[in-house]
Amino acid sequence: MKYFKFLITGIFFGIVMTKSEAISWYRIQEMFRFDSFHMYGIIGSALITGILFIQIIKLFNLKDISGKKN
């Protein structure tokens, strides 16, 4: 089943978003009131990790599972 891997990735994403409390209305309020670092930490560390991964992919010319380059 070609969609199964997307379902599993989605479930993982849902768990991360819930457990990190990033889905919380209060966490978002806290962010916009500059009362907590939590949300900035999540976005910031996701970004730094993301940039790092993307640079590695570009550096080594890595391809996806269908052989397509990104």
Binding site: L7, Y26, M31, M39
Partner: protein, 185 residues
């Protein structure tokens, strides 16, 4: 193990895990961006017959709908099996500010005054929730993406348009929090 996972996950664990989700989707031939599903759903509902923006091969985007379905299942899974027994740790200043607007904090992730059926079917609640939803949908499509697509995927690819979009989202959030909330709540 379950006990450990049931604690709130710190930002420095959660953030990199979100980046891993983005990379997994890229590896599977997709691309991380949740709001493009809104476009797919409009196309599936037949909007492509009238508006060319919705006239495209949405079948190639089914993977993304499956991803979002998974995210919903994941949310349920966390809520039922990995529930944090303690109230979430929100800064007291935020709680006091919100209380002065008439929004209480009972330790849950959402304020029960806003997210309930009775409020939705009141005039004020209907306007806030439906108009709010409309703005989110319209804005994210107009910008070509939401927080996931622009802030995580776009910025990770060092895209300037994504940076502009994210700055815009943030300014919008600040304006609503500090100027619109005191008017509507």
């Amino acid at each position: 193990m379950i006990e450990l996972l049931s604690q709130p996950w710190p930002w420095y664990i959660s953030g990199p895990l979100i980046a891993i989700v983005m990379i997994l989707l890229l590896f599977f031939g997709g691309s991380f961006g949740v709001s493009s599903n809104l476009r797919s759903i409009c196309s599936i509902a037949g909007a492509g017959k009238r508006i060319s923006f919705f006239n495209y091969n949405w079948k190639g985007e089914i993977w993304n709908l499956i991803f979002v379905l998974g995210a919903v299942i994941g949310g349920f899974t966390s809520s039922f099996f990995l529930e944090n027994p303690n109230p979430i740790n929100i800064n007291t200043n935020t709680i006091i500010d919100l209380k002065s607007l008439g929004i209480s904090f009972d330790g849950n992730i959402l304020p029960h005054e806003i997210f309930n059926w009775k409020f939705l079917f009141s005039l004020k609640g209907f306007l806030i929730l439906i108009l709010g939803g409309f703005f989110v949908g319209f804005g994210s499509r107009w910008a070509g993406g939401c927080t996931s697509g622009h802030a995580i995927n776009g910025l990770s690819n060092l895209q300037i348009p994504s940076l502009i979009a994210v700055i815009g989202f943030f300014i919008g959030g600040l304006i609503v929090t500090h100027f619109i909330y005191p008017l509507i709540f």
